[in-house]
């Protein structure tokens, strides 16, 4: 029998606001435990929640890039439950009037293009983090994440393969990160997802029993979890080995299997009700237009511009637009050195190989673009050669050196004294008579060898092109 896997996704994305959703604490990642906490987000009484307008704007941006219908008057609701990472005892979220509904996202897999439809996007606050100390047997709470704004993007059950899920997550990441909605870093938890999965006989219109795998934050793990869980469903249906129940499960990446979260989480009544302390938020056409006008260029538009008016290759443009951070570095560097082809070559060649050598993703590269641009300019003007340029790029990236100052201090500039270069060339030719002879017998390849010899004598501080010309000139004079 043929089975069809049916999946829906709930993707949680952290909104890139400076401050939290309902208080003015910093929402930045990476602070010391309980550094970003005030009485409000620690759950103390007496500080009424006040909606962070910027979070709503980012929600509008998310709605725009997912072609969603924006709710005219959105409101917040409260979801009640007790857990130590939730100091107020309720999460402020949106159930009855979420910020937008009925969106769509186009994805592309090897099987072709497909539209994934979205049920809704809503804004909600994150919870804190529990830290278990196994040594003392205690549990500590870190409230830095409490009330950090998230959006949850809820799709319809439109997915049939893990490929589609991956393509969708990558597309969402591109749409949302380019729109400035979120930095979408899975490893920092700013993007994570729940996968709803069920299996039915191919051709059936009924949905099978659905299970939900919670809190996935790596594409690799998601693919493995989907494969495992869909196979579990298929086995259950085809062999009757177990009875599927609607439940929440978690993925154990070490064991490579999902397991049931037994007990309360599957049977809680969250007693949702409209948040009485927050006024509904009216989102009028003017506000939507203002957000639309400030939307940064999308990856697709940037790709079109790069391959179009900039005349760059699709291959190079795809690398740059595959990462919001690379795109930002590209744009910023262009401001100081407006030669797209050169900048793209430096990013996709040197910069990525250096950063990759340090085990860093392209999203984490942090470079002073003005210095980067100056460095490219120095190589372009033959002040230094490309080899030294690459060595300096390592230092710009890691130590933030000033290229000109460093070159002057370490005398790395190209030898500009042509008399001295000629002298080195003459020496090299004299020392390598066999090679010169080979050349005279018609072997052009020895030119490269001779250039190398001269570069070595110059301690690499010469323009290889100029040296090449010099060798050619000298050799042809021998004819």
């Amino acid at each position: 029998m043929n089975y069809e896997v049916v999946m829906g996704l709930e993707v949680h994305v952290e909104l890139a606001t400076e401050s939290k959703l309902f208080c003015s604490c910093s929402a930045k990642f990476g602070a010391d435990a309980n550094e970003n906490v005030c009485p409000a987000c620690a759950g103390m009484p007496g500080m009424p929640a006040v909606t962070n307008k910027r979070a709503v704007e980012l929600g509008i941006a998310a709605a725009l890039v997912t072609n969603s219908k924006i709710t005219e008057v959105m409101s917040f609701d409260k979801k009640n439950y007790f857990y130590p990472d939730l100091p107020t005892g309720y999460q402020i979220t949106q159930l009855y009037a979420p910020i937008c509904t009925n969106g769509s996202v186009e994805i592309e897999t090897t099987a072709g293009k497909k539209i994934i439809t979205l049920k809704q996007i809503h804004i909600e606050e994150d919870a804190g983090k529990l830290v278990h100390d196994h040594r003392t047997g205690t549990t500590l709470v870190d409230f830095n994440r409490t009330s950090v704004p998230l959006t949850e993007i809820v799709s319809n059950p439109d997915f049939r393969t893990a490929d589609e899920v991956v393509a969708y997550l990558e597309k969402l990441r591109s749409l949302l990160s380019f729109a400035g909605v979120s930095d979408c870093k899975m490893q920092e938890g700013s993007m994570r997802c729940d996968v709803n999965i069920s299996v039915r006989e191919a051709g059936s219109s009924q949905l099978g029993t659905r299970t939900e795998i919670k809190n996935m934050n790596s594409l690799k793990a998601i693919v493995r979890a989907i494969e495992y869980e869909s196979q579990r469903h298929i086995d259950a249906l085809s062999t009757g080995s177990e009875v599927l129940v609607q439940e929440t499960r978690r993925w154990d990446d070490n064991k490579g299997e999902t397991f049931s979260m037994r007990g309360k989480e599957n049977a809680t009544d969250y007693r949702y009700f409209p948040n009485p302390e927050l006024m509904p938020v009216r989102i009028d056409a003017a506000w939507i237009e203002a957000v639309r006008n400030e939307l940064p260029e999308s990856a697709a538009d940037k790709f079109a511009r790069m391959t179009g008016e900039m005349g760059l290759s699709e291959y190079d443009s795809r690398i740059i637009t595959g990462s919001k951070n690379l795109s930002a570095i590209f744009d910023e560097t262009l401001r100081f050195f407006n030669r797209p082809k050169d900048v793209v070559n430096w990013i996709n060649g040197e910069l990525l190989s250096i950063a990759g050598g340090d085990n860093k993703g392209s999203d984490d590269i942090n470079i002073d673009c003005e210095r980067f641009a100056r460095l490219i300019g120095l190589v372009d003007s033959n002040t230094i050669n490309r080899t030294i340029g690459k060595e300096l790029l390592v230092k710009v990236l890691k130590d933030g050196i000033d290229p000109e100052a460093y070159i002057a201090e370490h005398q790395l500039g190209n030898i500009t004294d042509t008399g001295f270069l000629e002298q080195l060339a003459d020496e090299a030719l004299a020392e390598n008579e066999p090679s010169v002879k080979e050349y005279l017998e018609g072997n052009q390849k020895v030119i490269g060898f001779l250039v190398g010899q001269i570069m070595r004598k110059a301690e690499k501080k010469a323009d290889p092109k100029a040296v090449n010309e010099l060798v050619q000139k000298k050799l042809s004079a021998l004819h």
Binding site: F22, P39, A42, G43, M44, P45, G46, M47, P48, A49, V50, T51, K78, N80, F82, P84, P87, T88, G89, Y90, V141, D269, R271, Y272, F273, P274, P276, E277, L278, M279
Partner: protein, 379 residues
């Protein structure tokens, strides 16, 4: 003009460095980490806080007690100050959710000024029912209370449910309002809802206050629609909100934590069981019930709908001010209906002892009409 007042705070209002326990053992020893907005504004107006008075736990409705109702500490405070040496008037900032303070105020010859919802910041007020919580003023001098309110009211960015106006003057400084013989003023159209007053044995003392001054008040007849549902709607919605707002008292980060626990579940249950009072527990259980999935639509949502109908039915184009008695039978739950309109519709009111106790309710942000009425009545 400088305002001199002895100003007290109920224990539900934060005053930095002072215990703010909202009348609950679960907040015993909880020291306010900051000043409430009303405290900041009072001190900006050079009014010191004279002290704090205790309050019914989270201002919940007291219904378990069979004993005759005791005098509330806020009223007791003002009465005590009145009987002492002559000096400035006393005022207590209260959150009088179910009208207990207002009922008692009228009975003890005191006044209460309830501002419009959304005009006085609740920053620093320990919340009970957020959609109704309102800091009001219990006082021995209503004119001073209006003066005080001009200092306290105005938008505060830290309270997300406020009107945009940054200040209000209620016509206090306008000359025409000081004009005692009423020239230039059309009479205030005063509505006595017949369906409410019919429940009162003798209302002649109340109506006489106004009929004696026909050039200042036009008595208008009206019905207060849905009045028989007021207390249920108030109770359902406030229980739900109080239930939710008290989730935070879980024994984890602050407040009382039971020493008797082995698991996190025990910690929650025992801390709350040991430290919350019976009325608060009943309120919380009712609230949880009302919000439960199976009851949400028939109870909570229904009450929300009726609340909207109640608001819409109050038609301030036919009258300027509604007059209601401050007490009927003396039974707290029943009488909460009389004070439900201000809570449910966010309306301002003044409560007066005159005529055996009367409250005047105006449209939102029309405290000026109440002030005008008071200017006439106090003469």
């Amino acid at each position: 003009m400088e305002l001199k007042l002895k100003l007290y705070l109920q224990e539900s209002i934060m005053q930095k460095g002072h215990e703010a326990n909202a009348g609950s053992t679960i907040l015993k020893g909880f020291i306010s980490p900051f000043d409430a907005a009303v405290v900041e504004r009072s001190s900006a107006a050079s009014i010191d806080i004279a002290g704090r008075v205790s309050v019914d736990e989270f201002s919940v409705l007291t219904i378990t007690d069979d004993q005759p109702e005791e005098i509330t500490p806020a009223v007791e405070r003002v009465v005590a100050d009145l009987s002492g040496e002559a000096g400035p008037a006393t005022a207590v900032l209260c959150n009088d959710l179910f009208g207990k303070v207002r009922r008692q105020a009228a009975a003890h010859n005191l006044y209460y000024l309830q501002p419009s919802y959304g005009t006085v910041s609740r920053y620093g007020l320990i919340p009970s029912a957020s959609s109704m919580d309102q800091i009001g003023i219990l006082t021995s001098n209503l004119t001073d209370a209006f003066m005080l309110l001009t200092k306290l009211a105005g938008k505060d960015e830290r309270d997300g449910a406020m009107y945009p106006e940054t200040a209000y003057d209620y016509g206090i400084n306008s000359d025409s309002h000081k004009d005692k013989d009423g020239t230039g003023h059309t009479p205030i159209r005063l509505a006595f809802p017949s369906n409410v007053w019919a429940k009162k044995a003798d209302s002649s003392a109340c109506t006489a206050l106004f009929t004696e001054q026909p050039d200042r008040f036009d008595i208008v007849s009206c019905e207060l629609k849905y009045f028989e549902l007021f207390r249920q709607v108030l109770y359902i919605l406030s229980c739900a909100e109080i239930c939710n707002n008290t989730n935070r008292y879980d024994g984890i980060k602050f407040g009382y934590r039971s020493p008797n626990y082995k698991s996190i579940g025990d910690l929650y249950v025992n801390s709350r069981s040991e430290a919350l009072g019976l009325d608060a527990k009943l309120t919380i259980i009712m609230g949880a019930k009302v919000l439960a999935q199976e009851n949400y639509t028939p109870l909570y949502e229904q009450a929300m709908k009726i609340r909207r109908l109640i608001k819409e039915a109050v038609n301030f184009s036919d009258y300027d001010v509604i007059a209601l008695p401050t007490s009927l039978s003396g039974e707290p739950y029943e009488e909460s209906a009389l004070h439900a309109l201000t809570a449910l519709a966010g309306l301002p009111s003044i409560t007066l002892p005159e005529g055996g106790g009367i409250q005047l309710i105006a449209n939102s942000k029309r405290e000026d009409l109440l002030y005008r009425a008071w200017e006439v009545l106090k003469v």
